[in-house]
Subunit: 342 residues, 2 copies
């Protein structure tokens, strides 16, 4: 045990000093980072966006199969994904951690290393936070700030009839990655000698453990000259997010089942688990892709983009929000949003 450092040997201020050692600031808008009562930010002529997401042990993550470094990365990425969904550029985060005594200083450094990597990738400055103890599991609360030119933020409430409905990347993988990891955990608990059967499953497992925010697409859309008419990130599943856009924009939608982007490994894994891949796509969640709408006149700019798939169109509210099967049947999409309290 001597190679690990207990949290109480450092204390709160010692831990904060240790964790902030590797924090480097990258944004000109960051005037003052960690170390005072608050950080100082100067966005210039731009608007700022702010979002927050909390991750709770055994609700949002299971440390028996989620490495702390990946968890740190994910905690930042899911917040950056919300900033991306506003068409903004992430600039700063603050991080609050509640830590139970069973963690070591080295474990928290692993977590911070993952956050640091994400900050580097997304060019975000970690500018402050709070570190406290928890009686039970680990709690990670991240608040992210971003900048956007005035008038360029993209809301959920501004989709128009006849707009194209688009998604980035492919969907359903993160959910099946979780099913795989849960299966291997059960197998391990039943027989600790068992070897995990995750060969050839890197993609879906990676989708679950280390999702990326689609900042790349935000930059590409700007280069293409496409300004989305509405946008949301896919954290709860395509169905739930589409319903948010449609209800807030007071429109309907038709999404074509045979257009839904899905990876072959996702399809194979769905078959293995005897789950309909459409269910994984519509209700699985945690893919952190972007769902957006765009003007019909942007069709040519979007149709061959390797990271974007046009999956349907916005309709009158009266037509409802429907999934259209290859045979032409329309099924109403229902809110399957995760009820955390059920």
């Amino acid at each position: 045990m001597s190679e690990y450092t207990s949290l109480d040997s450092l204390g709160e201020f010692g831990l904060i000093r240790r964790l902030q050692e590797h924090v480097e600031l990258q944004n000109p808008s960051t005037v003052l980072g960690i170390g005072d009562d608050a950080a100082i930010i100067e966005p210039g002529q731009k608007q700022m966006v702010v979002t927050t997401d909390m991750l709770i042990e055994n609700v949002h993550f299971d440390l028996t199969f989620c490495p702390l470094k990946h968890l740190g990365y994910k905690a930042v990425a899911v917040n950056v994904s919300d900033i991306a969904a506003m068409n903004a550029i992430p600039t700063q985060i603050v991080v609050s951690l509640a830590i139970s005594a069973r963690y070591t200083v080295e474990a928290m450094e692993e977590l911070y290393e993952g956050m640091r990597l994400a900050c580097e990738n997304y060019k975000v400055d970690l500018v402050g936070g709070d570190t406290t103890s928890s009686r039970s599991g680990l709690v990670i609360s991240v608040t992210a700030l971003g900048e956007v030119e005035k008038g360029k933020a993209v809301l959920r409430s501004t989709a128009q009839v006849n707009d194209l409905i688009c998604v980035t990347g492919d969907l359903g993988g993160a959910y099946l990655g979780l099913q795989l990891l849960e299966r291997e955990k059960q197998a391990f608990l039943a027989d600790p000698e068992t070897q995990p059967e995750l060969e050839g499953k890197d993609y879906v497992v990676g989708r679950q453990l280390r999702p990326e925010a689609r900042m790349d697409v935000i930059h590409e859309l700007k280069e293409l000259g496409v300004h989305p008419t509405s946008m949301i990130d896919i954290s709860d599943g395509l169905g739930s997010e589409l319903l948010h856009i449609c209800s807030q924009s007071r429109v309907g939608a038709a999404v074509f089942q045979d257009k839904l982007p899905v990876d072959q490994q996702t399809l194979d894994t769905a078959e293995e688990f005897k789950i309909d891949p459409v269910t994984c796509i519509m209700n699985g969640g945690e893919d952190y892709e972007l769902l957006f709408t765009a003007k019909l006149s942007d069709y040519d700019k979007l149709k061959n983009h390797p990271d974007i798939t046009i999956i349907g169109k916005i309709t009158d509210a009266a037509e409802g929000v429907n999934l259209v099967t290859p045979s032409g049947n329309a099924h109403a999409i229902k809110a399957q949003g995760w009820n955390h309290f059920a």
Copy 2:
């Protein structure tokens, strides 16, 4: 039980809708509040400050004696206190809640009502958040944003030798309020028929349960034309905060014990508990008053202010950070900051 609403009957989105019903926006810088991936803020020519604080059940609060409405108020006030300590004006907050299934919707509305009251008092807009479930207790994470004119933020690192050391209000009360509440809790657990003995203790109990951020003093200092040379809010006790200012400013300090502001009820309660009131003031914490330094030339503006007490002066770093007793003995002030992990 029929008058209470279970969380799972509303679900996450239902709970969010219910809680946000009473949220009203007050700041012109708030362009978009709750309801999208992120809120939008437009601070104009000003700098923004950002801070975050997390409150954990049974670490920072005990619901057997802390009413949820007070808790909600306090969760906002402690963040506003950090904004005040930067000499900034609070403008927006985002709130993340992790809630265990044993809470009802009505309980969360109580909590939100307290937050709403604090938002009203401090003129802060609640612009977003995250609501999730917890396996154990309640977790409240608040991030606050504020505005400050460029160059007017007051840091911890800018105190100068010969500056006056000042505190607002009086100190030690919140700690003794906690001792009283803990004593009554133990008495209640031993004999549930017992009546709480809190008569005549309103002040110290109130200091613990419903602290106020000293925004009033921030506005008054501006009117007086006093610009603090350094500032911090007192969350961990005067001693710990003074050490932060002195180490970050590379200076020493002499604080005079007989100048420390303390309320009579605090003194009486300290005597009842046989605790040295100086210990409560120096190490008690949670008073959420402001500790600041000011130029010697501001002495006349500060000396008779009813909410401000001059308690000492900044010295050379070589002289150390000392508490000077009435008999003239200097005792080095030690870091007694709360070690959450011990």
